[in-house]
């Protein structure tokens, strides 16, 4: 309705707009900025009949939703998201049992137990010690890109960097890298609920079994002989007499493998795409590596790896003037909040010096991305080094297209041209 109140150049533009209720339309998937602007203009807390829930696109309400973790639940084993999972429980008991031990999908107080035991492993001061190693990896992966006409940025840079970093940090063997990638992608089908994949539980369970088969022997070995790695830390950490069980360590190591590489890969890729559209900002960063931190925050805001995450209401409450009923599904769209002109000045412009930059890309509240400091570190080192080395970056893939998911912002292919300075 609100669309009609906006100036339209021609009627045909309006007619060609896909329905607002289609979260997986070509526009929603490949041009989310335009799609979510339409949604925010129509209604920032919008009832989506097709998704059967609220889609929240304004900054204030998305922030409030993430911070309201007592009423907006992440629990996938109760409430309206549980039906699918519980229906699969008998067939995929092992998979479901592991997922109940993820901090990502649990509420307080169990979430507090899981998170407090690993929180210190991901604080900025802890991950800072990884910076020299990350820098070395960035340089060694970037070196062969020079002189290539078409760089396959996903396969040759954005995938290997984060998977090597998280595998080394956890203490996984380096030769497991490609298997870990394949299994993580399969697991993502359950986490990110890809459309048209009826078989996703079967595929995910196989992937989970494979990852568990890799990780469990390492957990047991580190219990006897600890090393300087995160699995050892999880085995031996104790907070106020509280410890992890073996099942919890294995389940959360799997979660970290998955969450540690896929999202970071997409952050790096989306950054390259954004810089290709704003060559002056790339040049500016290349000349002033001191901008690496603010530039990374700006990429997170402008086109981060996660578009939205879903919650459900444990009790009724008001959000943006709407009555949210108990058990209602609520989609908090950080991609939209990060482009809300009510909060950000000229939100559709990329400004590598933007500060303050209170984007919501990592969420807010108790579920705020655990790996945020590590993702930031990898992105800072990547963008600073590539911009200093290559004077221009250009997307060569024609009709860039993205995986059809509501949650992640993940380009299918990304070929780029890099010109040395």
């Amino acid at each position: 309705m609100a669309e009609r109140t906006q100036p339209m150049t021609t009627d045909t533009i309006e007619q060609t707009q896909p329905p607002l209720d289609d979260l997986l339309s070509d526009q929603a998937v490949n041009d989310p900025r335009t799609y979510f602007k339409r949604l925010r203009d129509a209604d920032p807390v919008y009832w989506n009949e097709r998704w059967n829930g609220w889609v929240v696109t304004s900054y204030a309400e998305v922030a409030a939703g993430y911070r309201d973790y007592e009423r907006l639940s992440s629990d996938r084993f109760r409430g309206p998201f549980a039906r699918d999972i519980l229906a699969s429980r008998s067939a995929y008991a092992g998979l479901i049992e592991f997922m109940t031990k993820w901090m990502f999908t649990s509420d307080r107080p169990y979430h507090t137990h899981l998170r407090s035991l690993v929180n210190k492993a991901f604080t900025p001061s802890t991950v800072e010690v990884l910076r020299p190693r990350v820098r070395e990896l960035v340089r060694s992966l970037a070196a062969p890109l020079a002189g290539q006409e078409r760089v396959n940025f996903l396969a040759d840079f954005a995938f290997p960097l984060p998977v090597i970093v998280i595998a080394e940090y956890l203490g996984l063997p380096p030769e497991s890298r490609d298997e870990v990638k394949a299994w993580s992608d399969d697991l993502g089908a359950v986490i990110f609920v890809q459309g048209n994949n009826a078989n996703r539980f079967a595929v995910a369970e196989q992937a989970m079994n494979n990852l568990v088969g890799l990780i469990r022997p390492i957990v047991r070995a580190r219990a006897i002989q600890p090393r300087q790695d995160l699995i050892s830390a999880m085995v031996h950490t104790e907070v106020d007499g509280d410890r992890f069980t073996e099942e919890e360590i294995v389940a959360n190591a799997v979660l970290m493998v998955f969450a540690g590489h896929d999202t970071t890969m997409n952050l790096l890729a989306n950054g390259i795409v954004a810089f290709s559209a704003f060559p002056d900002q790339w040049d500016r960063l290349g000349r002033d590596p001191g901008l690496a931190r603010t530039a990374t925050e700006e990429i997170l805001r402008y086109d981060g790896p996660i578009k939205a995450l879903a919650r459900w209401a444990k009790e009724p409450f008001e959000l943006g003037g709407k009555h949210i009923a108990q058990n209602d599904r609520v989609l908090l769209v950080m991609h939209a909040a990060n482009h809300d002109p009510a909060f950000f000045d000229r939100p559709d412009l990329l400004d590598v010096a933007r500060w303050p930059n209170r984007h919501l890309e990592f969420g807010q509240g108790i579920h705020t991305c655990l790996g945020a400091p590590l993702a930031r570190l990898e992105a800072q080192e990547t963008f600073a080094h590539l911009a200093a080395t290559f004077g221009t970056v250009q997307v060569l893939t024609k009709d860039l297209s993205y995986d059809p998911t509501v949650v992640s912002r993940s380009p299918k292919h990304l070929e780029v041209g890099l010109q040395q300075r």
Binding site: Y66, K120, S125, P356
Partner: protein, 83 residues
Amino acid sequence: MNADRPAQPRAVVDRDLCAGVGQCAAIAPGAFRIGDDGLAVAVEPGGLDAFSASGASSAEEIAEAADSCPMAAITIVPADVSR
């Protein structure tokens, strides 16, 4: 209320960085709490008296809370520059 005491170290929350994760309030509940807007605040307005006698957290707990912040949003301001 602190006029009769020497300047003390204080903890300050940078609300441009805070994401309301709540680790500080869990580790040093006498020093930090999550405010009505969902972000952390130091319990005493204008920063925190780390050695306040009124049941506040110890200096060690406050330092631990600052070090545990995933957003590096907490700064301990040493006594000698708190003026």
